[in-house]
């Protein structure tokens, strides 16, 4: 364990066992979902005002759709948090995630070309970040990580990639 800006950053070896997310990630998810929720709710309200009838088939269909989205967005953060796991060792990264459909992704470090740490305003508010790894076959992300852990992972991966490229040359 290493102290950094008052936060505890695990050594890279400690990441070799599956880890869960920081509980604060649920708050970040809720806040992000609220913005997503605003869209169907606004459409439903606008449709109701336009039709001037709350018994119209089109309004009821939109209301049902909005209700499904609202329920999903409210229920999904704790489930996502509960099942999200990630680990990283010397040559691979594993992510287990999903709410209804669960996915297990394994990315060999050897295939990674580029590593990026993203921090939007919501994630910054909670001291979180997302690490996006680009391979020739697409991108894989480690989401809602504590910022120091994200930086640590990105740095470690970048060092590995540079070392690998140098060895190849």
């Amino acid at each position: 364990m290493v102290e950094e800006n008052g936060q505890t950053v695990p050594d890279i070896q400690e990441l070799s066992d599956f880890r869960t997310l920081n509980p604060l990630s649920k708050n970040a998810m809720y806040l992000g979902n609220l913005i997503v929720l605003a869209i169907p709710v606004a459409i439903t309200v606008a449709l109701g005002l336009y039709l001037k009838s709350y018994t119209d088939f089109r309004f009821l269909a939109m209301l049902a759709l909005a209700a499904i989205v609202v329920v999903y967005e409210l229920v999904s953060p704790p489930i996502f948090y509960k099942y999200y796991r990630y680990r990283m060792d010397d040559d691979c990264i594993e992510v287990r995630s999903g709410v209804i459909f669960r996915a297990h992704t394994l990315v060999p470090v050897e295939r990674i070309h580029q590593v990026e740490v993203k921090k939007g305003p919501i994630l910054r508010k909670y001291g979180l970040a997302t690490v996006t790894m680009t391979t020739a076959g697409g991108t894989v992300s480690l989401e809602y990580l504590d910022e120091p852990i994200a930086e640590e992972i990105a740095q470690h991966l970048n060092e590995k990639i540079i070392k690998m490229l140098k060895a190849r040359q």
């Binding site: 999903g98 391979t135 020739a136 697409g138």
Partner: protein, 504 residues
Amino acid sequence: MNEDTPYLRNHWSMVVSSILKVLLALAFIIVIAVANGMPAEILPYYALFISLILALVVVWNIIIWKKTRYYFLDDEIVVLRDTVFRKELRIQYERLASVNVQRDFICRILGTAKLAFNLNSNVNVSQAEAFIVLKEEDAEVLRKDVYKRMFQASNGTVGTDDGTDVPDTDSEVMIQPQYAGAGVTPLEDAEPLVHISTFDIFLHSIIGMPSIQALFGVLMAIYSIVTFFMQGAISILPLVILIAEFVLPAVGTFIRYYGYRLVRVGDTVSVSSGLFSTRSDSFKLSKVNFVRVREPLFCRLAGRAILEAEVVGTANENGIPLLCPTKKKDIVMGLFHDLLPEFECNEVHEKQSKTSLATIGLYMAVYLSILAVITYLISSLNLGVWGILLYIAVVILVVYIAVWGFLAYRNYSLAMDEDILKIVTGAYDRSVNYVLFDKIQYATVRSSPLQRRHGDGRCKVSMLSSRGFTEILSGVFKAEVLEKISATVMARIRDGRYDFRRYQ
């Protein structure tokens, strides 16, 4: 590399081609402006503005043409552009995945050809890393020269001097003949690996397309004919759909693959074809990312198959990198075994889990529900005799969906040995994908709640392809079997069976 190093420059037709494109765009803007009733007093200023833009475009293109130099050195190609921003691009021959010769309409009029150099990277899939426009004969000579350097870089051997040195007609066009001696057959003298007739290409253009597209085209044609005889006039909409969805793609494919020729020299394959615009792709077999044997429904009924290989830079407008247009299946498989034996997988196929029936059933329920809603809405209209046709169409579609469900369950399968993963996908249009574990970028095993209860899942394999990146989604199998895919990729990296140098 110094001032005396010989270099090449683009043919002047490239400037003409760029200016023509801008002229066309400007002409369109002028027509729009005039059509919208531009006041006469503004017109001279507008014409001056347009002329100024055109003059700038001409000057800028001439500067780019003048200041862009191509150096073909012993180990690499250097593209040097010394305009406002200096740009230097270096491409090592060993990194080249493929070299294409493309001749569009302007090139054919002016007797030139565009030579494109492609790297095995997803950044370069839609656009070549570099290209040069030369006189046709110079481009061909340069292609041969670059091909030999690629060959030398990968094998450490030296090719022949088969008369490939570029004629020294221009002081700037100088490529030194470097390959004297030993015996490698030039690509254009090599025997085609498979004889493809014009009839094969004609068949390929029709039965090679996805079956739903071909079926839709046939239905539209029947509908147009029936309405013509029943009403004495052709309905415009079905005719437009028939032309846009069936005739144009078929004609486009025929033009694209007319005169198809596939040859191999050493570990390099060259594919050339084209009726009006010709295109020639040369690539090393080690650059093949994965192989696919495609059997659309009508192809399969005719006992035929199509062989495709994913190589960066070789995708055509339809995104289909082709090794063999539709031929008898035994010929296609024979070509596959001769050309790419390292992609063969003879392991026993794993059949889909029973839980896949739930997924297939769900899809069928959705399709049938949509069909029921559409039928209900249409039948409420007063259709007269057309109502009978509607019910016939509904019966056909119900049968189509039912057979789709059966084939989707039966076709999907999986097999793997220690090098190759073989994934069979598709219902009516079956595709057999042969993937080297070393080319898999990463794999994801996904499962729905029902699949999880039975320990099943589906696997999405992500790879580099000629269209960026591609994903192959398997059927439903035991999750532990699917997890072996990632495990094998990792095991090969860890124990050294994966060696990146093999694929350079």
